[in-house]
Symmetry: C2
Amino acid sequence: MSAPLSGITILDLTHVLAGPYASMIFADLGARVIKVERPGIGDDTRAFPPFKDGQSAYFATINHGKESIALDLKQQDDRAIFDQLLEHADVVLENYRPGVMEKLGYGWEDLHKRLPSLIYGAVSGFGHTGPEALKPAYDMVVQARGGVMSITGERDREPVRVGASIGDIVAGMFLAQGVTAALLQRRDTGLGQKVDIAMLDSQLALLEHAVALTSVTGEAPRPSGARHPSITPFETFHAEDGLFVIAAGNDALFSRLCDALQLPLAADERFATNPARCDNARLLKRLIEAVTLGAPKAHWIEVLTEAGIPTGPIQNVAEVMKDPQILSRNMVVDVLDKAGKPQFTAAGNPIKLSGMTDSTTRGPSPALDGDRAEILAWLAEAES
Amino acid sequence: MSAPLSGITILDLTHVLAGPYASMIFADLGARVIKVERPGIGDDTRAFPPFKDGQSAYFATINHGKESIALDLKQQDDRAIFDQLLEHADVVLENYRPGVMEKLGYGWEDLHKRLPSLIYGAVSGFGHTGPEALKPAYDMVVQARGGVMSITGERDREPVRVGASIGDIVAGMFLAQGVTAALLQRRDTGLGQKVDIAMLDSQLALLEHAVALTSVTGEAPRPSGARHPSITPFETFHAEDGLFVIAAGNDALFSRLCDALQLPLAADERFATNPARCDNARLLKRLIEAVTLGAPKAHWIEVLTEAGIPTGPIQNVAEVMKDPQILSRNMVVDVLDKAGKPQFTAAGNPIKLSGMTDSTTRGPSPALDGDRAEILAWLAEAES
């Protein structure tokens, strides 16, 4: 079997992170992604640190395996090329502010009339509808406004940003999901459709527990540091040499945890049920740490793993990138240069399919306009 | 047009969050989801707080619009029903520990031989391959081991957990993406395939910036509180009545920000470029707050929005659920009971499609085994 999206051509007008993350998912699943960039500058992230050999590693980690052509969509010659590309594309992706594509004459309504089977995928800060559709947003704005920051951080201290750019990335993932569903439906209808993803909407979609709690109690949850808000024990604990986590998500696991730590607490009514453990969480943490402080993290992780209790280290990103389980799953890949030599390192494809070889390398991250000649030759051949 | 996944039947053996989140995406896109639960107890989250009228709101926010049948896959009669269900399903989803399905005789290899077109979607803590495939995991374990916690929290303090369960949810999203891609490919090949998602892999896939930085510098990034690690100003600021965010992601936005705040800093070489602003971030924050402390948040958000600068409030979840933009996008929906009356509140579908009506309500969250009679009648009819 080949890759599931092989044969699909994505015309990708997106830049920075949310849109390019979606097109990276498509490239990893076998689609051809043609990145249409502004002449001269290209994707903003080409100028984002860190750099290696004068090229942005940030850009490379998201844009590997894509092609690039620079087009000024206000210039007639470039528009003619873009029009030809549209004829041969299955999907066009954009993350401009709502209205920009319409001004260029490439809005959804216009394109759908001209090319009824084309799928149009848009990602923006607040979506293409609603009173604030036209406002600009970045990851930080939607993390803050969308509620995730309000439940992330230490109790009674200022909220913190999630260290990963989930404002962008989760929206990019929903864009990929919507476009793939539209590709599936097109097999039956022959028609494309518009997929409209808002970064703000996508944040709310992450708040399962918080939405349930707020809607029932009327009170919004607050940050709870490294603890799960409603399961105990499910947090970090100090060992002799630092912090590690224990996640004993039900009574059976708690009972096994008590056995493994030789703590006679499983029958204690203060800790017999999860609600009781939540009420007495601070006391329970101290009783557990009175044991775990006596030996190093590695000891406890081994003992608890042996007992079948979910546990593990808190790894920094350098440690994650050397984690044997991560490496065995091809989750750290080499981005090759044009000569086929490893140039950058990126995260692998988390979607493992029995029908697709999971490569440990990725095609090069494109130079700005670096594939123009090949793309024009391909168009000329397709038109002839 | 109908919903993109209408006509698709998902046999859903998953429980708790990662798997049920994937099947919720499918239900929201029009698929029929049949939840196969353990007799007596069912999905663990039926017992998760908060409760309303004796039912779990947590369960309802994730399982609305699905059907439920209770089957004991070790009992012959129930296996016969399950075998019939498999014949009529497009996809089977499971989130057991690797090996459990094999012991039941329903592992991927067996099922693929019997039903070559069936798609098999699995989500587990560490995936179905690698040295630690068999270990148990929960959200907290993969947030810690996968690196996200190491970059989330305040500088020089203990790391915190992301308040939303992104360890589960992001894995569920990748499962939905992989299965949808497999459905698309099946249109050409007629063959199903196995989709194998690891929660740990999925965490690494969120670390774009951190992976780029670590691979180039050799040093793992640390938590940076409410600041973006490499863009300035892109963080929280104090106004007279509390915190709000400003995200001025490039030089042009910084220049406009200076104008809007009447701060003569745009030409100051300490702040002229993003690298310079990062070096002088603490000073810049104080200079900006010396202005913003003089008026309330709402004033600054209005002034900066007017100037086209990404900004906004830090909302708690109760505020998010009343946000006019969120409401205008149908992102807060009523889960109806069997009589059609609103019973619970859930997050809406963030995937807005021009071809699918975006409903403001959802079908009921199923009672355990509540659809058995209808499902058996459907099977009898399909077999006749």
